[in-house]
Amino acid sequence: MITNIKDQEYDVIEVTNEMPVNRKGGVGSVIENLGSGFRSIGAKALWFLLDHNYRDFEVERVLTEFPDIAIGSYDELPLCKAPLFHLHIYQHDPLLLQYLMSRKVVLTIHSLLICEAQSNGIDLSWSVKQQEDMIAACNKVVLVSQSELQNYYKYNYHKLNPNVTVIHNGLRNSGSFRNQRKNDVIGFCGRLVPRKRPEYVQKLLREKGFSNYSVMIAGRGFSPYAKNLLLDLKIQDRVQFLGWCGGERLKSFYDAIDVMAIPSTYEPFGMIALEAVIRGIPIVCNRVGGLGEILGDYAFYSDDDTYESFRGAMNMWLKADSKKITDITRGALQRYYLNFTDITMAQKYLNLFRTLN
């Protein structure tokens, strides 16, 4: 085990495959905000990184940038002392579950893989089975939205484990809210997978009213479909792919866009919506997953997940006057302060841990 820990005892051991370094998905962002939330309320968490994909220099970066880190295998977990384990993992050694059987374990599911498989039209059966085994093995399951809870029941996961609750994700306040941008740029952020419908924002560029607009896409992945779409729509010079963005680049992206489009058909939570909300960026989206729970009435919603509905919602945003945009962004920010800060999330987890101790 490699570690930089100084203390012997912790309130919780947070077990994860990913830290906020070269983050491949949303888990790294949640870890970052859970960490800042715990620090704010004085909770002591140890971050145990296992079954990760980091290379040596990335491991070094993790150890340098974050305190209370241990990196090792499941059989080294006993070297760390805490009353319970909180899992965020999406890949693991099968023997981990055996080890955890006699321990108190909370599992947060950041995305139900059975829904990921269906919404992206891909086979994840092996990973789905792994996730189901974890659900069955833990004391308590946490889902990140009420919508995910409905999916949990829909797929009969309550028969695997009926002890389930919802804790929404939270985000640290960066204090970067500012008034409306007028850059004529539509933003899209996320992995370019089918369920996020990245093609919708690009199709929009050919529509009446959007001839002066361009699109910025921040996210991993490209595809033959993406290449052909640009050619078919003749929009190669109007779509800027920024790649896998982190740090200052992500901030530049948010500064550059007028609106955030989230046409996803499945979104377990929607961290990207929170990121836009704290910066005063209006959101056009489907009322799916956590998005409706985050935004309430303060977004431009499409009626369903078709392109036509998304176009309708984008037109509502386009025609909205300055006051309407201000009302929407301020209203969304108010909801953020009430329900979705990193501190709120951390406090809810700590309360949950106490019920299990």
């Binding site: 983050r23 490209f222 993406a226 290449k227 790649g243 901030k251 530049s252």
Partner: protein, 155 residues
């Protein structure tokens, strides 16, 4: 401007990665690249045919470069080395790609990280970097080469 030379084939942590599968051949994927910002002035601008050279019969060097396309500037800030002694026999296409496999932290949104993809032929068809698991965007083809018994030849 050469900062360092990569002496190993850069292996990305693809979940379905297999060492001898051609899609392993993506160069310039070091995540250390993303920790610094690279300004255009730091990187040589060159004609694409001067971007590469052989140091001996088995090694191809890709110089640092910037390349403009699609209204953006694709930058490879580091000299890259492709050691054909580690690569199986066959014909390859050396493609400049927009590197989607490494986190880019450069706040200049017009600039993007480039990578080099060594495309092989599978059943007579060229691999495309856009396909899984590479999922990078083709920017330009630099050169076709043939590898045999650890040696590399221009085609």
């Amino acid at each position: 401007m050469s900062r360092s030379i990569s002496t190993e084939i850069e292996l990305i942590s693809y979940y379905n990665y297999h060492k001898n599968y051609p899609t392993a051949y993506l160069f310039g994927s070091e995540s250390t690249l993303s920790q610094e910002y690279f300004h255009s002035s730091q990187v040589f601008y060159q004609n694409k045919y001067s971007l590469f050279y052989k140091t001996n019969n088995s090694t191809l060097i890709i110089r640092p470069f910037r390349m403009e396309k699609f209204g953006q500037v694709y930058i490879n800030p580091q000299e890259l080395l492709i050691d054909f002694q580690k690569i199986k026999n066959g014909t390859y296409k050396i493609i400049v790609v927009h590197n989607f496999q490494v986190e880019d932290r450069n706040p200049n949104l017009r600039e993007c990280l480039a990578g080099i993809f060594l495309a092989s032929q599978i059943d007579g068809k060229w691999e495309e970097p856009e396909n899984y698991p590479i999922e990078c965007r083709t920017i330009d083809t630099l050169v076709y080469v043939y590898a045999e018994n650890g040696q590399v030849f221009y085609l």
